[in-house]
């Protein structure tokens, strides 16, 4: 099956006013994202992950190379709206995504732009708000909501456009732990319902929930694999100024004390299992 997102030797260079040659923000990246998958892209600030995300839905057009969404070229101005309807995007700042001063009107914004028939819009708005648990708040003004609630409304606004894929650009960076949990819960739910998820984040615990983890640095893909494969390479990860999930860190430290912790443990439950077995054997 064709991948839903296909980046072919993508290079992106921000244009600066002075003529000093700059490093490209995205430096020759080739990636295929399969339908229905859950991919996390992590990297420090300046690694190019956000720039990569914006190249997917055509907010940025490649300097070199091509990006295909559902087979459509993002550089094609005639197909860009189809592309953006297929690949929706949720941004980092919950406040600055909401256009209207009434929640349900904001969720309707996307479908209205697509020219969807009013009765259908109403239906989609209600469904989307239910899906993110914000139906009760549909008549409220956004500035009265918490960060997590606002972000859920933003997600509903994208869901109402019936995308096949949603790109989340650091959606929890500005939220408190409670808000983060709410948003991750919805992301998991959307994935279960078949939507392709691309999650840009620097929270390792969030990346660990994905099926595939891609680590970027200086615009290049440094690592690409399952969470277990990727997080095993702890030294490399640390050299990129990133953290590893708590359990991985603990496993590594215990190993250095002589504990025979098996490779690939990333869940707390697995670590607890190991410790129980180990204790009962000694």
């Amino acid at each position: 099956m064709d991948p839903i997102i296909h980046m072919l030797d993508l290079v992106f260079q921000y244009k600066k006013d002075d003529l000093t040659p700059e490093e490209p923000a995205v430096d020759h990246v080739t990636l295929r994202i399969e339908r229905g998958s859950f991919t996390a892209i992590i990297g420090r600030n300046g690694s190019g992950k956000s720039t990569l995300a914006k190249n997917i839905n055509g907010l940025l057009i490649p300097t070199e190379g091509t990006v295909y969404v559902k087979g459509l070229d993002t550089a094609d101005p005639d197909r860009i709206w189809e592309i953006r309807q297929t690949a929706g995007m949720v941004f980092q700042n919950p406040d600055n995504q909401l256009v209207s001063s009434i929640v349900e009107d904001d969720v309707a914004f996307g479908p209205e732009n697509l020219g969807v028939e009013p009765g259908e819009i109403r239906k989609r708005v209600d469904e989307s708000l239910y899906a993110v648990n914000m139906y009760e708040e549909r008549k409220k003004a956004p500035h009265l909501l918490s960060g997590g609630q606002k972000q859920r409304v933003a997600i509903a606004g994208v869901v109402a456009m019936r995308p096949e894929c949603i790109i989340f650009d650091e959606p929890t960076a500005m939220l408190d732990p409670h808000g983060r949990r709410e948003v991750m819960c919805i992301i998991r739910k959307l994935h279960r319902e078949g939507i392709t998820i691309v999650l840009i984040t620097h929270f390792m615990e969030e990346a660990a929930e994905a099926e595939r983890v891609i680590i970027m640095d200086k615009g290049k893909v440094m690592m690409d694999g399952s969470p277990r494969e990727v997080f095993a390479r702890t030294e490399e990860i640390r050299s990129l100024d990133l953290d590893v999930p708590f359990t991985v860190d603990l496993a590594e430290r215990l190993r250095s004390r002589g504990f025979p912790v098996p490779d690939g443990i990333i869940e707390e439950e697995e670590m607890a299992d190991f410790l129980c077995q180990y204790k009962s054997r000694t």
Binding site: R44, H178, L242, D243, A272
Partner: protein
């Protein structure tokens, strides 16, 4: 500089039908030179509380004694309070406004009426404390810097006033792992070199557990718990019931407890967790 808060109460829109009690009868002490962490769910009153400590808000009732001086008294000059107690808000980089980093950091000391040469000294020291070089960034526009650097400039702006008490509201909010660590190191360094009192408000329990000598827990406008990190994070169920998390190490220990594994002491950091597990398995 010790702080004593007695029966602090603050009501928003008092007398109106939609009044909210933001703070209710809070009393606590903060010892001179200590590092105190304040935790609580969003809306528990943390922000309101710290704004009282530097005189931005006045309580409806109660007193706040800073080194014996009651700052709730109308006769106390706000300038005096703000020179003693510095407050760094969330996302402090949003308050930068000057043409150069130097001028922005100098804003605070200027407002205190310090002489020019002393201001220059303060700016350099403050930038040094936050890990920035005056030669590198002093004459650049603050808006040309990276996110992490901007935040450090903003913090330097408050440190340049050399407050005896430095309050930081979620100083690591929105930062990536490296910048997060940098800010924590910065705070530790300031505490060490300035010998001042630090009050850290944060949602990151790992940070609070690692750095604080004392933890204050806010819930719905009241201070419901007070103690060392060890004492506070031991009450796992209580904290979880208030919608708060545990530091990762303590959280893991709770999981082990559910499996019937009881470590002798509760670990607050990953290092302590390793120690405790080692002891428990007899693997010394």
């Amino acid at each position: 500089m010790s702080i004593q808060v007695k029966n602090l109460t603050h009501i928003y829109s008092e007398g109106m039908p939609y009044q909210t009690i933001a703070l209710e009868d809070n009393s606590f002490e903060i010892a001179d030179g200590s590092f105190v962490g304040i935790i609580g769910h969003t809306g528990s009153g943390k922000s309101t509380l710290i704004q009282h400590l530097n005189g931005l808000l006045k309580p409806n009732s109660g007193t706040i004694l800073v080194d014996g001086l009651d700052i709730t008294d109308a006769s106390v000059s706000l300038r005096d309070i703000r020179q003693r107690i510095g407050l760094v808000f969330q996302y402090p980089e949003y308050q930068l406004f000057e043409e150069t980093v130097e001028k922005d950091v100098a804003f605070g000391p200027q407002n205190l009426g310090l002489p020019e040469d002393l201001i220059g000294e303060r700016v350099r020291e403050a930038l040094h404390l936050v890990g920035l070089s005056y030669e590198d960034v002093g004459q650049r526009s603050p808006f040309d810097l990276s996110g992490g650097e901007k935040r450090r400039v903003a913090i330097a702006g408050v440190i340049a006033m050399r407050p005896k008490v430095l309050i930081l509201d979620e100083p690591t909010a929105g930062l990536d792992p490296k910048a997060h660590k940098d800010i924590l190191n910065l705070i530790e360094r300031v505490h060490r070199e300035e010998n001042n009192t630090i009050i850290l408000v944060s949602h990151n329990m790992g940070d609070i557990a690692a750095l604080s000598e004392k933890v204050l827990v806010m819930h719905k406008g009241r201070m419901v718990m007070e103690g060392t990190p060890g004492e506070v994070f031991k009450k796992a169920e209580l904290l979880l019931g208030m919608g708060l998390e545990l530091p990762p190490a303590a959280g893991f220990m709770e999981l082990l407890k559910q499996r019937g594994i009881n470590l002798e002491n509760m670990p607050l950091t990953i290092e302590e967790a390793v120690e405790e597990i080692t002891v428990w398995t007899g693997n010394n």
